[in-house]
Amino acid sequence: MKWNEIVQIVLFFGLGIALTPPVGRFMARVFKGEKTFLHPVLHPIEKIIYRLSGVDPDEEMTWLSYFWAVLLFATVGFAADMAIFMTQQWLPLNPQKLPNCSWHLAFMQAWSFTCNADWQSYTGETVMSYFSQIFAIMVHQFLSGASGLAVLVAVARALKRASIKTVGNFWTDLTRGLLYFVIPLSALWAIPLMWQGVPQTWKPYQTASLMEPYTTQVQKTDDKGNNVTTNIQLVVSSPKLGADGKPEMTNGVAVMVDVPQVDAKGVPIMTNMPVMVDAKVETQSIPVGPVASFESIKQLFTNGGGWYNVNSAHPFENPTPFTNFWEMLAIIVVPMAQVYMFGLLVGNKKHAWCLFNVMLALYALSFVVAWYCETRPNPVMAGAVPNMEGKEQRIGVMNSVLWATSCTAIDNGSVNSMHDSYQPLAGMMPLWNILIGEMLFGGIGCGMYCMLFHVLITVFIAGLMIGRTPEYLGKKLDAWCATWAVCGVLIPNAVALLPTAIALMLPATIGLSSLGNQGPHGFTEILYCFGEAANNNGSAFAGLNANTPFYNIAAGIVIWIGRFAPIISALAIVGRLASKKTVEPSAGTLPTHGWTFGLTLTGVIIIVAALTFFPALCLGPIVEHGLMTAARTF
């Protein structure tokens, strides 16, 4: 722990917290339809939008029609995206002449971006044209963020209401969010990025001659372009065992030997290996594009889908320590502020701060644990400290881990290092953040309403414990609310666990051939894939090649369920609560603030997630950690 790391951490959290009230207050003003300093310029535009689209901004929707509007909006976006991805070859703005995407990649990516998951199973710079990146992906980074925020606004507004059957107007919330908040903030945030050297251009990819041409090995292909392989006996590197059956060690490192593998009957196990040939490399293609503007919206509104494959580990997406800090700050600023906005909209700031503190505590805890685990020596890597595999030198361990835990605590999903390369327990923390439902500030909107489900479950159990029908913000909770609250929590959990099991049960050529690693780490890769799909994160553990029909289709469906199950649950709950009377709190009502409630809520969050995922985590990172300390690899 160096002093400059401490300064960066303090600055990061400090600035995030300091920006929370002003940004949150501004958001609340926007969504209440109150006047802001942007009104003189933007209000006429807002009016024109309503006139053109034929929307009556004051028309009220019931919770169900609000949900249909959200779903319709996403579905139209999905259809448009899918069409663009599958026809980009013939569309303009494709200087690289990139081909059309496969239907299953298009299916999965279209849902991924319209659902704010932004999970990418492709390599950005070699698959998507400028047109696709801008009009299919970036447009939805704005729209999906704004529609998630709109749902939260409807939720908060409905909680404040009493004896009213409606929750607001989706189109109005969406327009106001986009116009006064999402677009201006993204534009503002992009400026320092451009100044720091992030490309912002429409030119085609640049080609540069290499100073030192080199020879590399590439896989041999036949005339039809298929890879050529050869069948050889499988060889696994294992620790050399001494006479006593224990691994032989030199300088604390296990001695590894290549062991040809045979099956139980002594028959050699054969495997297909690619045939490699030499190729000389003299030039390098440098992908560019309007990256800066893409970057700011990607970071600010929990999208995370990078322009480049390696996301913010790429020097063009994230060139300097300052951009790294600026982009990390972008991850937390709006999710933190949305909690404050929620407090203002429901009229209970104390409650909002309590939630804020619970989120912050769990978030900080995941960071500290991951950082600690990542700085422990790894016996397999010759006790290397720090573990720099999968990390950028200019970013370092602390900033990598802080980013990794931030982008998973918050439903962002961008990365500046490869989580797959983390030590098992350090890699488990981002996975844990994802699996508990991505609500430690969480995504734009969705983090807060996922938290709401846990709050309701807490209120429900704690409410009974104090001997009253559970009440939340003055509204009595009934069977309807209980049903939807558990749906909101359990459905994403179930769709994380079940497809993982399916992937493992399918023939190995479908489920397991995508794995980058064998053993428990391979299992973690699959669990991470469906965990983040179910929670709409979009960060990739890497290692897993998900661009296959099975993973694309399965992940697309899981993302869809993971997006809309919580949305319909949240709207159904508040739709019911809005129609109820509000009861003034008394000494007998459970206070939804203060440390008693905060601790109870924290307990509920941890227990629910731990009971659901502990067995799975045991068979993934936890057992892998045990194996790593025993210097076993796969």
């Binding site: 409410g463 659901t612 194996l627």
Partner: protein, 694 residues
């Protein structure tokens, strides 16, 4: 229903054991989905035993304990039902047919009691059983209602007023009454009581339904969690090159499911609900539905009648204030004289005060010429006239309302002392009732009559306030008096000069704000308000209309009972919440028992060795079999161990919400995490010692 009814506990126990087997019928099991899963699991493991090679000690024991988990849950429910059933049986015995003396055109006709129709009249005399529910239209009688209330002292029932209702099945001890039938056989109060006792448990309450949804969803989740484990584990087996080392046999998986799903609360849920109603019954309150009991826990506002609830029934004299120049003894003496013939409680209290405080002995009026003057609405005075023996009055002593006495004195040419009337105003302001005493034209002074607030009631209200329950006092007194008493009793609000419609209006107003209201009432006038209130407790002595309007009946007719009703309602919800928390918290330890048992050998480097996940066996359980069995046995036995808590309810203390939550979280949450570690370890030692597990 009462403490009087003796229960044969060994018989209750025996019946519960038999019932717990009867309840294994799928028709009963399906009602409780959590336990239904255990039931299905038991059947599955039983069938599994008969597959080739599966009939071994471990599988048999798992099967055995899964069945016992079902039986224990059934037993808890049967135990809770048993007491109610015994009550109902007692009551049924009373419902035997009796003959009735029906009045037809003034003549008595012998008929069977169940032939009586609503509106018909019948006669009941000393020693006879009242044939049907009804209202006394003529006469007054002492009635033994011990059969219903358990109270052995007879009560007085009379025509007119609020004590006119008689209940079929009770016995008239003295006098003769004529009763008009208000409920036919099959619909009588007794029938309704039996229905309440037996029927209340049938419908689930709103909170129970909501909790059930949470429990069932958790169950579904845990089924998913457990059934994805075999593929997860097989993948790792393949990676480790250890085919078939993970214990994923059906009995093990089902054990894990049964351990994880909230069986503790699932098994005790209905018992808790029934026990709550039973606790009310033991306090002699009958609830028409579990919903009413639950609502009692949520009550925000209590409407209480001043008289009888907050204050002792009547005003009492507490002080004599003599007029200037009058001796205290003289005033006391005159006051006593004026009250000797006054049989009202106020009058008696004056005599008692004079005797106790000023040593004036109560005396018989020896003077043969003394004639008592009764209170009338016109004079608003009472007192005593002493004659001279010739039919002329020589001395007149009066006490009464200030205004009346003043006029009376003025008529006789007396003088009015300002000081006396200043005192009168002062007493009024303090909430007391001033009575002025005059002897002929002379005003002697003032008697201070005061409403005596019941002892301890202020503390009760303070407790209620801590629980978040507001108290509203209803009184016919004027604003000033009401305010003074309200302050003394510590109620939060009051309605002075209340008319019956005011109660209803107040209830409606509070309900508008989403509040839940409880009130207690007895008169016919109270019926609409009782019906409107969320918890309406009717007194058993009250009118039939009141008894039908409320959703609870207090057989003791004790107005302070409302506070206990609220506490029982809260206790009911608390018990559910506490056991839910406990049940879920228990799962943590079960994971630490079962997961290392299942996965402990994975990635072991040598045959018979243990892999990295064996480190999770922090309890050092002896073997995978003993670990799994210990967890399953603990899970079954904890249901039995918690039956007393479920029946008795979690201890209730009137504290603030956050304090209660903190306390219960510590006991049932943190305790629920820690306790099973200890017992699972003990069970493991026991199983190994008895060679029931390797």
């Amino acid at each position: 229903m009462s403490t009087k009814v003796e229960f044969n506990y060994s018989k209750l126990f025996k019946q519960a054991v038999i019932d717990s087997f009867k309840k294994l019928h799928p028709r009963d099991e399906i009602k409780n989905l959590v336990m239904f899963v255990v039931w299905l699991g038991s059947i599955w493991t039983t069938v599994f035993l008969f597959l080739p090679g599966q009939f071994n000690l471990f599988n048999v024991q798992i099967c055995f304990w899964l069945w016992f988990t079902c039986l224990f849950a059934n037993f808890a429910e049967a135990m809770a039902e048993g007491r109610g059933k015994a009550h109902a049986d007692e009551l049924r015995k009373m419902r035997t047919k009796t003959s009735a003396r029906k009045l037809v055109n003034g003549r008595e006709v012998q008929v069977n009691s169940n032939e009586l129709k609503i509106g018909e009249l019948f006669v009941c005399q000393a020693g006879e059983i009242v044939a049907a529910d009804g209202e006394i239209v003529e006469g007054i009688a002492t009635v033994d209602e011990s059969a219903i209330t358990g109270e052995s002292a007879p009560v007085i029932r009379e025509s007119g007023g609020d004590r006119s209702a008689v209940t079929g099945g009770t016995r008239v001890l003295s006098d003769r009454i004529v009763v008009r039938v208000t409920a036919e056989a099959g619909n009588s109060f007794l029938d309704r009581m039996i229905e309440m006792i037996e029927g209340a448990r049938r419908q689930k309450t709103p909170n129970e339904i909501a909790l059930n949804i949470v429990l069932v969803s958790l169950t579904a989740l845990f089924i998913v969690v457990v059934f994805v484990l075999p593929p997860y584990a097989h993948y790792n087996e393949n990676a480790a090159g250890q085919k078939g080392v993970v214990l994923t046999s059906i009995p093990v998986l089902l054990s894990l499911i049964v351990c994880l799903i909230p069986t503790t609360i699932g098994g005790l849920l209905s018992a808790i609900g029934i026990a709550g109603i039973d606790r009310l019954m033991r306090r002699n309150v009958l609830a028409t539905s579990g919903r009413a009991v639950e609502a009692a826990g949520d009550v925000d506002v209590l409407l209480l009648d001043k008289t009888g609830t907050i204050t002792l029934g009547n005003r009492q004299a507490t002080e004599f204030v003599p007029a200037p120049g009058v001796k205290l003894e003289e005033l006391a003496d005159a006051a006593q004289l004026a009250s000797l013939a006054d049989e009202t409680p106020e009058g008696r209290s004056i005599a008692v005060l004079a005797k106790e405080k000023y040593g004036l002995r109560g005396r018989e009026v020896a003077d043969p010429h003394a004639t008592p003057v009764a209170f009338t609405a016109q004079t608003r005075m009472s007192g005593m006239d002493f004659g001279d023996g010739n039919g002329k009055v020589k001395r007149r002593v009066r006490k009464g309302a200030a205004e009346s006495v003043r006029n009376w004195v003025l008529e006789q040419g007396g003088r009015i002392d300002k000081a006396v009337f200043e005192k009168v105003d002062e007493i009024s302001k303090l909430g007391g009732t001033p009575l002025v005493v005059a002897d002929g034209p002379r005003i002697l002074g003032t008697i201070y009559l005061k409403d005596i607030v019941k002892g301890g009631i202020k503390e009760r209200f303070a407790q209620l306030r801590k629980m978040g329950v507001k108290t509203v006092m209803i009184t016919g007194d004027n604003q000033l008096t009401a305010a003074a008493i309200a302050a003394e009793a510590g109620v939060d609000d009051f309605i002075a000069q209340a008319k019956p419609e005011d109660k209803l209006a107040r209830i409606r107003k509070e309900q508008e704000g989403g509040k839940l209201i409880a009130m207690i009432g007895d008169g016919t006038n109270d019926a609409p308000a009782l019906a409107q209130a969320d918890v309406g407790v009717a007194m058993n002595t009250g009118t039939q209309a009141a008894r039908e309007a409320g959703n609870m009946v207090d057989l003791d007719s004790n107005p302070t009972k409302l506070i206990e009703v609220v506490e029982i309602g809260k206790q009911l919800l608390m018990t559910r919440g506490a056991l839910t928390t406990f049940s879920i918290a228990n799962d943590v330890s079960k994971y630490f028992a079962i997961l290392p048992a299942m996965f402990g050998v994975l990635y072991a480097t040598s045959a018979g060795g243990r892999g990295p996940l064996d480190k999770l066996n922090i309890m050092y359980l002896h073997s995978p079999q003993s670990a799994i069995l210990s967890a399953v046995i603990f899970n079954a036995l904890i249901i039995v161990a918690l039956i007393p808590l479920a029946l008795r309810g979690v201890k209730y203390q009137p504290l603030g919400a956050a304090v209660i939550l903190r306390k219960n979280m510590l006991i049932y949450g943190v305790g629920g995490i820690l306790v099973p570690f200890l017992f699972i370890k003990l069970l493991d030692l026991l199983l190994v010692a008895t060679h029931l597990a390797p």
